[in-house]
Amino acid sequence: MSEIEQYLAPENLASALEVMAAGAVTLVAGGTDLTPQINEGRRSYAPTLINIRHIEGLSGISAPDGHIRIGCLTTVSEIRQSDLLTTAAPILCEAANHFASEQIRNAATIGGNICNASPAGDMIIPLLVLGARVELASWKDGGVVVRQVALKDFFTGPGRTVRRDDELLTAVIFARPAENFIGYFRKSGPRPALEISTVSLGIGGNLTDGRFSDVRVAFGAVGPTPMRGKNTEAALEGKILTPDVIQAAVVAARKDVTPIDDIRATEWYRNHLVAVFTEELLQNVCQN
């Protein structure tokens, strides 16, 4: 195991980014993913450990002009209990409600869940359904530079993202869903708590007189990254959710996913769950 040579707990973003620009760092906040990965030898520390907990302005949920902004240090419990999100984006609270255990929800941050980039990351699925973007900050020419990346383009493989080593994911942002937005999240595991999802699924869109539009579908744990379901979205866009349309969406969903056999489930079972959940969530939408 490599040794930590330096520990820092900066209080402002600029000083954290300056250090990140200078050399390899390990970032820690809640520690719920980092600690087991270090203990199991799946990861080692960089020479500099930065505790980002004390950086000002990275915590909390706000609603700037028609958007919702969630700071990277916001915990899953804070999302679960947020009045703003319960009203504006309940699909996020629903996913938070099924996330790990209360103790882990109290520590785990949204930024950590996104950057850990697990194909099964539970908070990522509703954020994909909400069309979220992430904000990445870095240090360039003596100042803070910020870029935004659509979450659907953020993941490149299991544990891998387009975030550069010198960038800090500071927030996740999405347009406040329309009044007629309906979104549902579903995950499956052998027990309700503390399960890494076998399959997770989110479906959302605007429902007007039975017609479903601006549809976004996202799948977890059925491919190398959490992903949008383009075929399923196309099968649903602008349609009235008749039994035929729902069946077509189920067929499309099976085309979107590329699950594998692993310790948690077989490819066959994951495909089966994708079909069952797609139908179930669309039935939920119909009941509105």
Partner: protein
């Protein structure tokens, strides 16, 4: 030689300042650095809840938390629950209801139960079950645990 840093926090109501190796977990600091053995090490990966402590009023798995992350925070362990050598009402209720079998999961279970009742004095049995999902008992005596928590909730409602 690992790098150390100075750490100051409040532990069971008292200020603590000490040097810690930066890669140490909060659990290792409590048990090995501060000799508070009530908080248990079991799975070491956040699956079992035996290491549950309260930090700034919410429960966390101390095995997943880095000790350095305790800086400036208020920490309560199972040792901080009892006062004047008397058991805390939650501890007493666990004893009264025979909820304790081998006992290893109990400090974490009691910390989590106490937190749930503090947060929601009208806790239902279903909410207790959900709230204790992160605490595993391998003697599998869950119904008596729920009876014990329900009795504390009931006593608070009557008071």
């Amino acid at each position: 030689m690992s790098v150390k840093t100075e750490l100051t926090f409040t532990l069971n109501g008292r200020p603590v300042t000490l040097e810690v190796p930066v890669e140490m977990t909060a659990l290792a600091l409590l048990r090995d650095g501060l000799d508070l053995k009530g908080t248990k090490y079991a799975c070491g990966e956040g699956e079992c809840g035996a290491c549950t402590i309260e930090v700034d009023g919410v429960t966390v798995n101390s095995c997943l938390m880095m000790a350095v992350d305790l800086q400036g925070r208020e920490v309560m362990t199972i040792e901080g629950l009892q006062t004047n050598n008397a058991l805390h009402p939650m501890q007493q209720s666990f004893v009264d209801h025979g909820a304790v079998q081998c006992g290893f999961c109990m400090p974490g279970m009691i910390m989590q139960a106490n937190y749930l009742v503090k947060k929601n004095p009208d806790l239902t049995r279903e909410e207790m079950t959900r709230g204790l999902e992160g605490n595993v008992c391998r003697c599998t005596g869950y119904s008596k645990v729920l009876d014990a928590v329900a009795a504390v909730v009931g006593a608070k409602q009557e008071a």
